[in-house]
């Protein structure tokens, strides 16, 4: 199963490497990891996507909680939540392919954030699955560069 774990941690030097180190040392897998400051400058929010069975996720949550810098750990997938990821993709456009790409951009409600003579840079925010679907709809040979942020998310109910 795919899990999204949200971690609130002290904004201390080395905190990120503790989390990343924990995953590699214990052989847990990381699909994606994002981290940035929150409204409280002493805290960072980290969102981790991992794949594993219930036992592994239970251990991941416990081991994260054990890290001294970690304040709270929430398994977002255990509650109603919203997840988003941002994609920036650069594609090759020419007269033959333009119509098709424009159509996909329209279907997926993407934004073109930069244009040049023969490239588009497209932005799309959404669930990871939507981003996967959009990328799949493009002609692979025309994709020049893909950059994804990884998932971030929040609980729909109020949590501490």
């Amino acid at each position: 199963m795919r899990y999204i774990i949200s971690v609130l941690l002290e904004n201390e030097a080395g905190a990120l490497s503790r989390v990343a180190g924990l995953f590699s040392a214990r052989g847990f897998n990381i699909e994606s990891l994002t981290v940035a400051a929150t409204n409280d400058s002493t805290l960072s929010r980290m969102t981790i996507v991992s794949i594993g069975d219930d036992n592994i996720i239970e251990q991941i949550v416990k081991q994260l909680n054990k890290l001294i810098d970690v304040v709270t750990v929430t398994d977002l997938t255990a509650t109603e939540h919203i997840e988003r990821e941002l994609l920036l993709v650069k594609v090759d456009v020419n007269q033959q392919t333009q119509a098709d790409i424009d159509k996909q951009i329209d279907i997926f409600s993407c934004k073109i954030v930069d244009l040049s003579e023969d490239t588009y840079t497209i932005e799309l925010a959404g669930k990871s699955q939507k981003i996967n679907d959009f990328l799949a709809s493009l002609d692979v040979s025309k994709i020049l560069e893909v950059s994804r942020t990884g998932v971030t998310g929040v609980c729909m109910k109020i949590t501490s």
């Binding site: 030097a13 490497s17 180190g21 251990q59 054990k66 001294i68 970690v70 304040v71």
Partner: protein
């Protein structure tokens, strides 16, 4: 008062009540050593190798229950200390390690004697800090001791840059207390868990208490004894738990696991209700997980939620201090009737009757087991015993029944050869009134021999019992059983003359080659109250540790000594260690 960083550090350590520091100087810690020199309250023990410093601080902590402290320089000082730190981490020992670091201005520049101490130790400490600002220093020290000694204890490293030790600031005093929002070690026992546990306990027809290091670490020996006596349940203890419950008591079944007794392992296997107390279901205990305790409901008491459900899923988890959890159980049991377990005890007595620790004597050779039995006799079971790692370690666990906690000091989780001697030195400093014996092997002792010199300098008399079988015995045993007797690199050739060696370090050395000389030599050694005595005892080089559960087997598939049960191991087992 204006102080420099080094002085603030030493002041902080004084405020923590630290009496002993084990360490070794170097460039990055010269300011700290200068401040230490001006301090009369703290005694510094100059070891001969930084690994020895950390093991000694570890032995000190295990014997006293207090926090051990080690001090090392940057670079090689720190890397030498890592084995010691990992050893303490695996056995949850409270310890603060201070390491020097190059100056902040040159961090990351491959400066002389620079290593990324925080990075290198990250996976073998409970927590670590890099201090680059003198104004953080006292607070960090406070946090380090708080973290190291509370919850599930463990080593904490404070890496301090040289410029921090030199800088000066107005010292406003050491913080009285600390509150960390991200670390809340006080855990209250959940009442509903106690209710659930009691429901299982009162029904149990084949109960067993499986107690571990947590009962020692949590100073819960008294509560554990009350609980065990109150329930009348049999109790088995892990290698790390030995001594929390008196081994000589009739409710004690001895150690369980790979080299545990027949009765302990059979009782675990057949039990319908296991009460795990501060134990972490290590693979030396569970053996093959598919065959582990097939019939039992499991209640697990542990301070660390991540110990619960890690290897074995449990029915009731009680998170909190052993003392609190057992007290709550005892309270809740007051008005409860327990199931009749006479039949269970009868069954256990038949297993006990197998006498799985019996061993065959041979004339003309000294059996290692008999050395430990003699040691027990001569010390009346009242000595602190440290050990190294190998067969000799298991024989102490089996043949020296510990009746009190903090008497048995060994490296269980990491299994670090070289631990025994420096740990004995630390234990002796922590408990100068006690006899301290270090049971070792000719392999292990050569890993930390240099500390013999420290032991002379600081007059820490220890009796070294070298079970010299001329082999890396534990390795040889596995090769005999599982590698068709291909003894690859397990023979210890070119051994030194240990008697002369001990003498050259200023100690007493005695060689024991005959059974008849064993007892008198031991008596003589313990008579020498103020001297370290090295007993080099030539023991049977072919002896193996029994019982043994081969890796991959179940608890009921134990190998016993001198019986017709050729050791066998399946492919799955061979993948294990």
């Amino acid at each position: 008062m204006k102080l420099n960083g080094a002085q603030i550090l030493i002041n902080s350590l004084k405020s923590e009540g630290i009496k002993h520091i084990f360490g070794y100087p170097g460039g990055a810690v010269l300011h700290i050593y200068d401040a230490l020199n001006a301090c009369n309250e703290i005694k510094h023990i100059l070891v001969r190798h930084e690994q020895g410093a950390v093991h000694a601080a570890d032995g000190y902590a295990r014997a006293s229950g207090k926090c051990g402290v080690a001090l090392v320089t940057s670079g090689p000082g720190l890397t030498n200390a890592v084995t010691g730190i990992a050893t303490a981490y695996m056995d949850s020992i409270p310890m603060v390690i201070v390491s020097g670091q190059v100056s902040s201005a040159v961090i990351g520049n491959d400066a002389f004697q620079e290593v990324d101490a925080v990075g290198i130790t990250r996976s073998c400490v409970k927590h670590n800090f890099l201090v680059t600002d003198i104004n953080d220093l006292a607070n960090v020290v406070k946090k380090a001791f708080y973290i190291a000694t509370t919850g599930r204890p463990g080593p904490v490293l404070i890496d301090i840059t040289k410029d921090t030790t030199i800088a000066e600031t107005e010292f406003i005093g050491y913080p009285e207390s600390i509150d960390m929002r991200s670390y809340q070690p006080e855990i209250k026992i959940e009442a509903n868990k106690i209710t659930k546990a009691i429901a299982l306990i009162v029904q149990a027809k084949k109960p067993i208490i499986y107690s571990g290091g947590g009962s020692v670490i949590g100073n819960a020996d008294k509560t554990l004894s009350i609980f065990t006596r109150h329930t009348g349940f049999p109790i088995t203890q892990t290698l790390m738990g030995l001594g929390a419950y008196p081994a000589s008591d009739k409710q004690s079944l001895g150690m369980l696991g790979m080299h545990g007794t027949y009765e302990a392992n059979m009782a675990m296997h057949d039990s319908d209700c296991i009460i795990a107390v501060g134990a972490r279901f290590d693979d030396r205990i569970t053996g093959n997980l598919d065959k582990f305790c097939p019939y039992a409901k499991i209640i697990h008491i542990d301070i660390d939620p991540s110990s619960v459900g890690k290897n074995v899923s449990v029915d009731v988890s009680i998170i909190g201090q052993v003392n609190d959890a057992l007290s709550a159980l005892i309270q809740a049991l007051k008005d409860k009737q327990l199931a009749d377990i006479t039949q269970w005890w009868a069954q256990i007595e038949t297993w006990r009757g197998v006498d799985s620790l019996a061993y065959q004597t041979k004339t003309g050779v000294i059996k290692p087991q008999s050395v430990i039995e003699a040691l027990y006799e001569v010390t009346k079971g009242e000595s602190i015993v440290t050990s190294d790692v190998g067969q000799h370690q298991m024989w102490v666990a089996q043949y020296y029944p510990f009746d009190k906690p903090r008497r048995w000091i060994n490296s269980g989780g990491l299994g670090t050869m070289g631990f025994g001697l420096p740990a004995a030195m630390g234990a002796k400093l922590a408990a100068p009134e006690m006899d301290v014996a270090c049971v070792t092997g000719e392999g292990s002792i050569q890993m930390m021999l240099q500390e013999l010199s420290t032991m002379l300098q600081y007059n820490t008399p220890v009796k070294i019992i070298n079970l010299n079988n001329g082999y890396l015995g534990m390795v040889r045993q596995w090769q005999e059983f599982f590698y068709d007797k291909r003894y690859s690199m397990s023979y210890m050739d070119a051994l030194p003359d240990f008697v002369k060696l001990a003498k050259s370090y200023g100690h007493i050395g005695i060689k024991v080659e005959k059974e008849l000389d064993l007892k008198p030599a031991l008596v003589e050694a313990f008579k020498q109250k103020n001297r370290t005595v090295f007993l080099d005892i030539l023991t049977d080089s072919t002896e193996n540790v029994f019982p043994m559960i081969p890796s991959g087997a179940g608890h009921h598939e134990m190998l016993l000594a001198g019986r017709d049960n050729m050791a066998s191991i399946n492919d799955k087992g061979l993948n294990l260690v």
